[in-house]
């Protein structure tokens, strides 16, 4: 009963928003547009994005501006949803939001490392919103990475990064970034304790799946492109996955070639993703997999947190797909090749 009170309003809202998402036909229409301008025009005139793009002058709009608008719309939709929640769920939504804040924080840190100007960094930040736990302007005002990390004092990130601030290099930066990703997963894990059994399981599964996919991607790339030590590979994985146990992950880190890799995950749902040894296909399959997974949750329509989480995942994929389509059009990539970059099979 409690869950109905808690989730019925938000779930109806979500249902309405899902109805507004791009349909297969609309995707095909966008893919078949002949150039950048006509694609954006189609997006503006024939999809639910018309409201968002109403005041934009299409002729003058740069691709990156459009991306920014899409990202920001995502974030603002997200921020508004906080109003539907209270108590622990409010906290959970805030913590799930950390993911985007962390992306921005990485951007700030990397930008400072590369000596980019504050304006330049600012233009790439997407998650500035009422849910922020850090003060963007304050961080942007610093001159280098060390100061930025010092400026994080008092936030949840500081204890994790304090130790890493001593070594600011290309490699050190990598450590900082992975550590930040860990902050996200650790925070969710500690919040999980406060949820009831049903929702705990839901969040655990969704986040676990995300962790599984990230782990697989990391190990795959570490193996094929960067030849990273197995021990190191393992240390950078995220634990508490959904279908992959710690032992499987460890075995995956120590495999000799891709055939073994595939053998190990053969019986998991992820086998489909790594069917072919081609990173573009893998990425496409990964998106498709996620979309299918979350669409299933949405169809099940349970009165718990799953619908909200799934919507934001699916919406995220849609944003990525649109950006990808627009990029393809901008650089005149053929539709046959372009289809490989979005979560859609014709």
């Amino acid at each position: 009963m409690g869950s109905i009170v808690e989730f019925s309003a938000i779930n109806s809202k979500i249902k309405a928003l899902i109805g507004k998402m791009l349909s297969q036909d609309q995707y095909i229409k966008l893919l078949n547009c002949k150039d950048y301008v006509s694609t954006v025009k189609a997006l503006k005139e024939e999809t639910s994005y018309s409201e968002l793009l109403k005041d934009c002058n299409l002729d003058k709009m740069h691709r990156s501006d459009l991306e920014n608008i899409l990202h920001k719309h995502y974030i603002s939709t997200y921020s508004k949803f906080i109003k539907y929640f209270s108590g622990e769920y409010r906290k959970l939504i805030k913590i799930l939001f950390l993911r985007w804040e962390i992306e921005d924080l990485k951007m700030i840190i990397r930008g400072k490392y590369l000596n980019r100007s504050s304006e330049e960094i600012e233009s790439r930040l997407i998650a500035r919103s009422s849910l922020n736990t850090i003060n963007y302007d304050y961080l942007l005002a610093f001159k280098n990475v060390e100061e930025v990390i010092g400026g994080l004092k008092g936030s949840r990130y500081y204890t994790h990064l304090k130790n890493l601030a001593k070594d600011i290099s290309e490699k050190g930066l990598f450590r900082i970034e992975t550590e930040l990703d860990f902050v996200y997963f650790t925070s969710i894990r500690s919040e999980l304790k406060h949820l009831n059994t049903e929702n705990k399981e839901v969040v655990q599964n969704i986040i676990g799946m995300e962790a599984d996919l990230l782990n697989l991607g990391w190990i795959y790339r570490g193996k094929t492109f960067y030849k990273i030590l197995p021990e190191e590979l393992f240390n950078y994985t995220i634990y508490n996955g959904y279908k992959l146990s710690k032992q499987t992950i460890r075995k995956l880190c120590y495999v000799n070639d891709m055939a073994d890799f595939r053998d190990l995950i053969e019986n998991t749902p992820y086998a489909y993703i790594y069917e072919k040894d081609d990173s573009t296909i893998i990425e496409k399959h990964e998106r498709e997999f996620q979309k299918k997974y979350f669409k299933k949750i949405i169809r099940e329509n349970k009165t718990n947190i799953s619908l909200v989480m799934s919507y934001f995942m699916v919406y995220r994929i849609e944003v990525r797909d649109i950006i990808s389509i627009i990029e393809q059009k901008r650089y005149s990539i053929d539709i046959k090749e372009g289809i490989n970059y979005i979560s859609l099979t014709l």
Binding site: N135, D137, Y138, L140, A141, F142, G151, H160, N163, L164, R175, E179, F182, T186, L229, P230, E231, E232, F234, N235, Y236, T237, Y239, K246, Q247, R250, Y254
Partner: protein
């Protein structure tokens, strides 16, 4: 309200805006918009020639100051002060020059940071020693001196601190790590472990540890002796550090106290700086001149003139009264001024809306009528006193000035009516009624309430007509149902009813009927009539058919609403009865108990219920009469309040 445009040289800009912010005289308006409208006119004369030439290069003012970090520093200092509980008087000093305040800040902050850093370093060292101490606790049974196993030839001993979740990963992978790992101390989120690594494999192992975000915390090789002896040494070192930490903390406190004034001063200066930026943001400028526009209430004009005197006529000023402004897009804000007695009632008006600039502020009318109505509904000398006291407490203790003030006035009114009704804490036997006992004269009370209501409505009509005419809204003011036509109709009905009651017919019925139909016709035809008077060619703005349908219903509504609005005031009398009735119920309950204490308790409870519950209901019903029956007659509340940029010094 005056629209003020100021032009001056850039060098005076900072000082002027700061002085304006201190005075809190002005609500800025976007200057570029003003310049584009025709209200910002500089006379062509030799004095103004440069400013005039410069207008061609005009652009919005853009701030180049970045004080995000400074503000954070100030917060840090303030927090440090709060932490040790320094509180002092308000200081009204500020530094006008931004550079000086910046320098002052960095001076204080740097000094603070030096000490703070010392404390932090000591804290870190303390933690480090504590960790070592814990690790030695693990080795306490080892009888080999420290130097022997830290200086082994082929092995290296290290102590690492690692986050809990990474320890899990290390554990899962023990067999692949070329080192012996023994965790020696576990806290909530981290683990400390000792590692024994063959020197040959040191680089590889370190890489693995690094990837798990392990922090190397100690190489205890400068200690000599048995581990348990070393532990004692470390314990004393920890004590040492704690002592020096306290010493520095004391120094820091002294420093913060000594610099109380200057920290406050800096805080104020930055506050001022931000407020002046707020004014500047709306300004326009060229390389040499600035152009500033804003609203200033008439009462502040003199202060503005004295302020400008200090600039030796370097600043040009153009002033226009609110009604002279040609740009209709901007509406002048309203500054509400009321004396102390009526001020608390402002909040009740503002809940409905801010009066527009040319509207009469309804506060006084509301305050008087509301107070009378409340008293009439809740007339009780004793309970009124309770409300008065509650208001007094709220005002002075809980700092709820508005609510407290309103309750005080209502309490007094309730006391006065209590004497008129002869009621003290519900009991009607203690004092004699000066005017009337509601329960014994039910009809008189109800009719009296309606008569009062008619009076209020008539005043409401007059106010409404004045408002409309002030706004030159002929349609509403003369022919509307809240206007003169409606008013005439209402008065007519009242006179007719009175004459019927007293059986002294003033006019024949036929004339009355003609009169009423005439008034209703005026209301029906208000738009075309207004357009004829104004000389407009179009009679109906949205087509005659639509107009008559809408207007026809309006006439019906007029009849209904006048009837219901008047009858609505019956509740004033009804609640006066209700008040007595409620108490009668409690009193009979008390007498039924036949037990002294119990009946006293019931009476007390009854009084509490009456004050809390009926008080609230009466409060709301009174407000309803104001908002619905009276405000709809005369008040629109579509204005914006005057919000000057003003510094609040800390």
């Amino acid at each position: 309200m005056h629209m003020i445009n100021l032009v001056g040289v850039m060098s005076d800009f900072d000082e002027l805006t700061k002085m304006l912010a201190i005075g809190g005289y002005m609500q800025p308006v976007n200057a570029l918009q003003e310049i584009n409208s025709s209200d910002f006119v500089l006379k062509t004369s030799n004095d103004n020639i440069e400013a005039l030439m410069d207008v061609n290069y005009i652009r919005p003012y853009v701030s180049d100051k970045d004080y995000n970090i400074s503000l954070k520093h100030i917060t840090i200092l303030e927090e440090a002060q709060n932490l040790i509980g320094i509180k002092g008087e308000y200081i009204k000093e500020t530094i006008f020059d931004f550079d000086t305040s910046q320098k002052e800040l960095s001076k204080v902050y740097d000094e603070y940071m030096v000490m703070n850093k010392k404390i932090e370093e000591l804290q870190e060292k303390e933690e480090y020693l504590k960790n070592t101490y814990e690790a030695l606790g693990f080795l306490k049974n080892v009888t080999v001196p420290m130097e022997e196993f830290t200086a082994t030839e082929n092995f290296r001993v290290d102590l690492y601190k690692v986050p809990q979740q990474n320890m899990v990963k290390l554990k899962a992978n023990y067999e692949n790590i070329p080192s012996i790992i023994k965790s020696v101390y576990t806290q909530d989120d981290f683990v400390i472990f000792l590692s024994f690594t063959p020197l040959l494999l040191l680089t590889e192992t370190e890489r693995i540890f690094k990837s798990a975000n392990c922090e190397k915390i100690l190489v205890p090789d400068h200690y000599i002796g048995l581990p348990k002896d070393v532990a004692v040494i470390i314990r004393s070192e920890i004590n040492e550090i704690q002592k020096s930490m306290i010493k520095i903390q004391v120094e820091l406190n002294v420093f913060l106290r000594a610099n109380y004034r200057s920290i406050k001063n800096i805080t104020n200066s930055y506050e001022l700086e931000q407020k002046s930026e707020e004014i500047k943001k709306s300004a326009a400028c060229t390389n040499e001149f600035f152009y500033l526009s804003g609203w200033i209430p008439r009462s502040f004009m003199e202060s503005l003139d004295t302020l400008l005197l200090s600039f030796d006529e370097r600043i040009l000023i153009i002033r226009k009264k609110a009604n002279e402004i040609t740009n209709k897009a901007i509406t002048p804000p309203t500054m509400i001024l009321n004396n102390r007695l009526f001020k608390p009632f402002e909040s009740m008006v503002l809940m409905y809306g801010v009066p527009s600039y040319d509207e009469i502020d309804p506060t006084i009318f509301l305050a008087i009528t509301y107070t009378i109505m409340f008293g009439a509904m809740f007339g009780d000398a004793g309970q009124g006193l309770v409300i008065l006291l509650a208001g007094f407490l709220l005002k002075n203790k809980a700092r709820r000035v508005n609510l407290g003030g309103v309750l005080e006035t209502l309490g007094i009114s309730s006391i006065v009516f209590g004497f008129l009704y002869g009621s003290v804490f519900g009991s009607e036997t203690v004092i004699n009624a000066l005017l009337i006992r509601p329960m014994e004269n039910i009809n008189d009370v109800l009719i009296g309430a309606i008569i009062f209501g008619c009076g209020f409505l008539i005043v409401g009509f007059i106010l409404g007509i004045t408002n409309s005419l002030r706004r030159k809204d002929i349609e509403r003011g003369l022919f509307g149902k809240e206007g003169l036509a409606g008013f005439m109709f209402y008065i007519g009905v009242i006179i007719l009813i009175v004459s019927i009651i007293y059986k002294k017919p003033l006019l024949p019925i036929a004339i009355w009927i003609i009169y009423f139909i005439f008034c209703l016709l005026l209301i029906l035809l208000k738009q075309p009539l207004a357009n004829i008077i104004k000389g407009n060619k179009i009679l109906f703005e949205e087509g005659a058919k639509d107009y008559f349908i809408e207007s026809g219903f309006e006439v019906v509504e007029t009849l209904l609403s006048m009837f219901s609005n008047t009858l609505s005031f019956i509740r004033v009398g009804a609640f006066a009865l209700n008040h007595v009735g409620l108490f009668v119920a409690f009193a009979s309950m008390a007498s039924m108990t036949k037990n002294g204490t119990a009946s006293v308790l019931i009476l007390i409870l009854g009084n509490i219920v009456i004050i809390a519950l009926e008080g609230l209901i009466v409060f709301i019903q009174g407000l309803r009469l104001q908002y619905y029956e009276l405000f709809s007659k005369y008040y629109e509340g579509a204005g914006a309040s005057f919000e000057p940029v003003k510094v609040k010094f800390k």
